[in-house]
C-alpha cells in the first residue's frame, strides 16, 4: 500500500464546507487563460504527445506553455491538473514515467491518470503530487475505487459516464475518495477505457494512442446530388443528405443498418448536459464538476465555463431558490454537439 490517506468525509448533504469545484478543459494556452478568466476553479491539460487522451494534432502544451499556464492559474489562486491518462505498453512506459516526473517538476496540482504503472510510479516518486483516477480508469464501484485508493493513494476519482444519478448519489456515500463527475460536453456512449471501436477500424485507440477515430483516417466525399458520405479507414460511417447537419465520424455516432432499419444504432451526435441535476449533485457531495472539450476552441471554453460558473455561484448563494435559467440552457445548447443535449446516463430512460 502506498501513500493511502484517510480523508475527511465530504458527505454532509447541504451543510458541506466545500463547494463543488468547476474543472474546465484547456487544449492550449489561450483556452487555459479563457477558462481561468471565466471562473474555472481548475483546468486540466495535457502534454503534446500520446500520454493523454486528447492527443490531437495542434493541441496541448509544450513545456514552456505549460509553465506559463500553471503560472497564470496559480497567480489567480486556481489549479492545473495534468491528464496522463492513456495506457503505455512496456516499450513506452519510461516515457509516461518521465511525463509524471515532468508534471511534478512543473508544479502541477495533480495528475489525472488511469493506468496502474503510471499511478504507482507517481505514488512512489512524488507522494506529494495529488493523484486523481481518470475516467479512463473505468472505476464504477466503491470496490474499484478502494483498489485505486489503497494501492495508489488517489485523492479523487472521475466517474465514467455510465451511472444513473441515483447510482452516483449512492456511490458518493460509499466511495473512499471524493468524486468528480462529467457535467457537460461530448458524450462517450461506451464505458471510458473499455472501448476498442476506434482501433477495430483504424488500429489507433484512445487507450493506447490517446485518440479516437483520428482525423487522418476520415474521408468526406461529396456526390452529384450534394449528399455526402464519410468514411473511417474505408468503412462507411454515415451518409448525409444535402444540407443535413453532419458531425465528426467517430464509429459510435454513425448510422447503421440493424435488421433492415437504418439509424444511430449506438448513439446520436449529442452532448451531455447535467445543469438541471446541479442541486442533486451538490447534495450528494460530488466534489467537482468536469466540463469535457479539450479539443474545442476558446469560444466554447469561455462560454461554457462562464455559464457553469454562474449556475454554481447562484446555487452557492441561495441553494433553495436555485433554478435552471433559460439563458444558461441556451448558452450551453449553442455549444453542444448537433445543438442537442441530453441527461445521458444520469437519466434512467436514456439507457
Amino acid at each position: 500500500m502506498t501513500a493511502a490517506m484517510a480523508l475527511p468525509s465530504l458527505h454532509g448533504g447541504t451543510m458541506r464546507e466545500r463547494p463543488m469545484q468547476l474543472v474546465c478543459p484547456a487544449g492550449n494556452l489561450p483556452a487555459l487563460q479563457a477558462a481561468i478568466d471565466a471562473g474555472a476553479d481548475a483546468v486540466y491539460a495535457g502534454f503534446r504527445d500520446q500520454t493523454n487522451a486528447r492527443a490531437f494534432p495542434g493541441l496541448n502544451f509544450d513545456e514552456d506553455e505549460l509553465r506559463r499556464g500553471i503560472g497564470y492559474a496559480h497567480a489567480r489562486g486556481r489549479k492545473v491538473y495534468l491528464a496522463l491518462n492513456t495506457y503505455p505498453d512496456s516499450a513506452r512506459l519510461a516515457h509516461w514515467h518521465a511525463a509524471v516526473d515532468h508534471a511534478a517538476e512543473l508544479g502541477a496540482d495533480a495528475i489525472i491518470a488511469a493506468e496502474m504503472a503510471v499511478l504507482d510510479h507517481a505514488a512512489r516518486r512524488h507522494p506529494a503530487l495529488a493523484r486523481h483516477l481518470s475516467v479512463q480508469g473505468s472505476a464504477t464501484s466503491a470496490a474499484a475505487l478502494r483498489h485505486a485508493h489503497e494501492r495508489f493513494g488517489i485523492s479523487r476519482a472521475v466517474l465514467p459516464r455510465v451511472l444513473s444519478i441515483q447510482q452516483v448519489e449512492r456511490l458518493c456515500a460509499s466511495a473512499p475518495v471524493p468524486l468528480e463527475v462529467f457535467a457537460f460536453g461530448s458524450l462517450c456512449i461506451m464505458v471510458e477505457g473499455r472501448c476498442q471501436l476506434s482501433s477495430y477500424v483504424t488500429g489507433v485507440s484512445p487507450n493506447r494512442h490517446g485518440v479516437c477515430s483520428p482525423a487522418r483516417f476520415v474521408r468526406w466525399q461529396e456526390h452529384a446530388d450534394h449528399s455526402r458520405t464519410v468514411r473511417l479507414n474505408g468503412m462507411l460511417v454515415d451518409r448525409f443528405a444535402d444540407r443535413e447537419p453532419a458531425g465528426y465520424p467517430t464509429v459510435c455516432k454513425g448510422r447503421y443498418d440493424v435488421s433492415g432499419e437504418v439509424f444511430h444504432a449506438l448513439e446520436e451526435p449529442t452532448s451531455l448536459n447535467t445543469l438541471e441535476l446541479l442541486p442533486r449533485l451538490a447534495a450528494a457531495g460530488v466534489a467537482a464538476l468536469k466540463i469535457e472539450g479539450r479539443q474545442r476552441g476558446v469560444a466554447y471554453v469561455k462560454a461554457v465555463t462562464k455559464t457553469w460558473r454562474a449556475a454554481l455561484d447562484h446555487h452557492r448563494a441561495a441553494a433553495e431558490r436555485w433554478q435552471v435559467s433559460a439563458d444558461w440552457q441556451q448558452a450551453l445548447s449553442a455549444h453542444a454537439e448537433g445543438q442537442q443535449t441530453t441527461l445521458g446516463p444520469y437519466h434512467r430512460a436514456w439507457h
Binding site: Y87, P88, D89, S90, A91, L93, E115, M116, A117, S138, A139, T140, S141, A142, A143, A144, R146, H147, E150, R151, V162, L163, S164, Q167, R170, S174, I189, M190, V191, R194, C195, Q196, L197, S199, Y200, V201, T202, G203, S205, N207, R208, R216, F217, R219, G234, M235, L236, V237, R239, C252, Y256, D257, V258, E261, A265, L266, P345, R348, A349, H351
Partner: protein, 293 residues
C-alpha cells in the same frame, strides 16, 4: 497449450445453456469459464445454478473458473460479485477492478480477465501482487506488445503468469451503460423483455452499404466476424501462450473444439476457418483494413 471455453457472452435459454455445458463436459477442453459477464439482467441461471454446473464440470475433470461481470453499476451487482468471490471453491476471473479488489480483500487468487486494461509489465506485476495467477490478454494486446511485456517482466526479475489469448469467436470491443439490443428493438432498457435471448449469436449491424461491421450483444459491442487464431499457432506457441480461449457460439462448438484440439498436435498450423485478428499483427482489429489511410 491448453484449451479453454470462455464465458458465454450471449444470452441463451436455460435449457440450452445447461445442455451446452453438459455436452462440453465431454469435449477436449481443459478449462471452462462459467457465469454472466455482460448483463446482470440475464438470469436464466442464478449463481447457485452456475455453481451446480461448475461442480458437474469439475467432476468431469475440467478446471472451472467463475467469470465476473465486466461492468458493475448497481450495488446489487456488487453484492452478487461478493457472493461469487466468496463461493469458497472455484477461482474467479476478475473482469473489472471491483472484482480484483474483492478477491484481494478476501485473499483469494484470481484470473485477470480481458477487460482489466493491462498493457505493460508493471501493471501486470502489480496485479500479481494483488493475487493474479493467470492473465487473459485483452483484444488490443497483439503479439509484439505481449512479447515486449513478457521480456520486460522477466528483465525485472518477474515471472510470467499463465497467459491466455482469445483464439476463437467475435472480438468483444466495447461496453456501455446503454443496451444496444433494446435500442435496436425500440425498447427501454428497464423493460427490455430480455430480448437478447432471441439472438444466440448477437444482432448483426452493417454499414449503410450492407458491409457487415459489428455485432450488438446487449450492452456489449463485438466485431462482426468470428476470428480464428489457429493459423497463428506457431507464433502463439513461440510467445509462450499457455491457453487458447474459445468463445462459445450458437452452432457447432463441439466441432470448433475438436479442430483446435487436433491442430495443437498437427505438424502444420491449419488454414483459417474464420477471420484474421488484425490486432494480433498490430493492424486494425477488423480484418483487411489498411494500417494507414
Amino acid at each position: 497449450m491448453k484449451l479453454s471455453l470462455g464465458p458465454l457472452q450471449y444470452f441463451w435459454p436455460r435449457d440450452r445453456t445447461l445442455a451446452f455445458y453438459r455436452a462440453a463436459a465431454r469435449w477436449p477442453v481443459d478449462i471452462v469459464y462459467l457465469g454472466e459477464t455482460v448483463c446482470s439482467k440475464r438470469r436464466e441461471l442464478r449463481l447457485q445454478d452456475w455453481l451446480a454446473l461448475a461442480a458437474e464440470l469439475a467432476a468431469a475433470g475440467k478446471e472451472v473458473v467463475l467469470s465476473s461481470l465486466a461492468l458493475i453499476e448497481a450495488e446489487s451487482e456488487l453484492g452478487a460479485l461478493q457472493r461469487q468471490v466468496g463461493n469458497g471453491r472455484f477461482r474467479i476471473e476478475a473482469n473489472d477492478m471491483s472484482a480484483v479488489q474483492l478477491c484481494r480483500e478476501h485473499g483469494v487468487p484470481f484470473v485477470g480477465g480481458p477487460t482489466l486494461n493491462v498493457y505493460n509489465h508493471r501493471a501486470l506485476a502489480l496485479l500479481i501482487e494483488d493475487g493474479l495467477q493467470r492473465w487473459v490478454a485483452g483484444v488490443e494486446q497483439g503479439r509484439v506488445l505481449l512479447e515486449e511485456l513478457r521480456d520486460a517482466l522477466q528483465a525485472d526479475g518477474g515471472r510470467m503468469p499463465e497467459l491466455e489469448v482469445f483464439a476463437w469467436g467475435r472480438l468483444p470491443l466495447a461496453y456501455s451503460a446503454r443496451c444496444f439490443t433494446a435500442r435496436a428493438l425500440d425498447l427501454p432498457k428497464d423493460e427490455c423483455g430480455f430480448r437478447c435471448i432471441e439472438h444466440p449469436d448477437g444482432l448483426p449491424l452493417a454499414t449503410r452499404e450492407g458491409e457487415p461491421f459489428l455485432t450488438l450483444n446487449g450492452i456489449q459491442v463485438q466485431g462482426s466476424e468470428v476470428v480464428d487464431m489457429a493459423p497463428e499457432r506457431d507464433s502463439l506457441s513461440a510467445l509462450g501462450v499457455d491457453i487458447l480461449r474459445l468463445s462459445p457460439q450458437g452452432e457447432d462448438m463441439a466441432g470448433v473444439v475438436e479442430r483446435f484440439r487436433g491442430m495443437l498436435t498437427a505438424s502444420l498450423a491449419p488454414p483459417a476457418a474464420g477471420a484474421r485478428n488484425g490486432y494480433w499483427h498490430g493492424e486494425p482489429g477488423k480484418a483487411g483494413l489498411p494500417l494507414a489511410p
